[in-house]
Symmetry: C2
Subunit: 240 residues, 2 copies
């Protein structure tokens, strides 16, 4: 009976899956309401009408729940970005990049707790599991996707690029990038990182409420930044 014959999900399994999902949902809401540090198994159990102890059959420890949340959110973001990108035609890389950027901000605003979990300060007391961290896989998907977008748009080199060989990239990342986009130049990879940071900066400032007190229309600011950015990447005429 140990053999894993593929079979219909039994009722028990279905219930288990549903409960697991519900736990995560409630966890998110708790984080959203009382801050990310407020996440607690007991609180979730309370809200589910379960005994605290029962949660432990789903997630053996609090950190396991957190790890799972981070992983889920990371891939959720990566999915959203890829989806947005693919909605624009491949023949128009600039529009794809704009869509990607717009999706980044939209996702962050829609899931501030998730964004915080993935990119923000770690939860107090949280110890990521040894080996590959929970974000790593998703982070590579995201960086990889942006790399290809930037490569497609970059017809003009950046005025200043720190280096033009792979020596400044960690071996693991380098290997990964070369595997999935063999003709990517290191200059483009570095540039993609800088572009990522530009968008990331505006998004985090907005999410943490540092933009609103000084500017009423963060969306416009973000859009302007993206347009400049695409413009700088080349294709369009450099000077108006």
């Amino acid at each position: 009976m140990v053999e894993a014959t593929r079979r219909e999900p039994s009722r028990r399994e279905r219930l288990r899956a549903e409960a697991t999902e519900q736990i995560m949902e409630i966890a998110l809401r708790q984080m959203a309401v009382d801050g990310p540090g407020a996440l607690s198994l007991r609180g979730i159990a309370r809200e589910m009408g379960m005994t605290p102890r029962a949660i432990y059959s789903y997630f053996p420890t609090r950190d396991d729940l957190v790890t799972e949340l981070i992983r889920t959110f990371g891939h959720g973001l990566a999915d959203a970005l890829e989806r947005a990108r693919d909605e624009a035609p491949a023949s128009d890389p600039e529009r794809r990049l704009l869509a990607w950027g717009e999706a980044l901000r939209a996702w962050a605003l829609a899931h501030p707790q998730g964004f915080q979990l993935v990119y923000g300060d770690p939860l107090p007391g949280y110890q990521p599991p040894p080996g590959e961290g929970p974000v790593d896989e998703a982070a590579l998907r995201i960086c990889g996707g942006l790399n290809r977008l930037v490569a497609a748009c970059a017809s003009r080199p950046a005025p200043t690029e720190p280096d033009d060989d792979w020596s400044d990239f960690p071996p693991a990342y380098r290997a990964r990038v070369r595997a999935e986009a063999p003709d990517l130049t290191p200059a483009v990879a570095a540039r993609a990182l800088r572009i990522w940071a530009r968008l990331h900066g505006l998004v985090t400032l907005e999410i943490h409420g540092h933009l609103r007190p000084v500017y009423d229309d963060p969306a416009a600011l973000y859009r302007a930044e993206m347009l400049d950015l695409v413009r700088d990447l080349g294709r369009a005429a450099p000077d108006a």
Copy 2:
């Protein structure tokens, strides 16, 4: 005896000031070691060899301590930025801007907990005091300083700027800016915000450990970004 005659600080007052400072120092170390969420009056008292209750003569409540920490850090950052800026000659605004940016990153790396406190997620359970938040004053100092720097460097308008009037700036901020730099244009103010975000993005990514896995030399990346940024601001030749 109620009148506040200015007199030598008595021994008691000196001791009190020292203790207050020590409390804040220990608070910082605790945050640095075990994460910002680990800050606790009891923990501080333990490390000081005091009774938990004793802390209350210095800070009536935990949130008061946090508020004070945030305020201190905010002004510490603002001080560091102004100092760095003033070390370069006023005749060379580009160098001043570069120094400002470099100081931002340096300060953040030197005080990651502080950076988190000022710009990151709020501490779980922390309720800022009503009225003006603890960061607000420092934030205005910082934005104001950057505004002036950008104005000094910007000889060329940004290719894309959302608007060119003050309608998108909140009245409070607008008033403040106009008061201390009457000839600042709204386009420059918006641009300063975007520049701030560019630097902020790289810094936060680095601090939270999202840059290292994909790039070995964050300093070089940061420098390249700053150079591009100054270049875009004009003065230097636009192309090549």
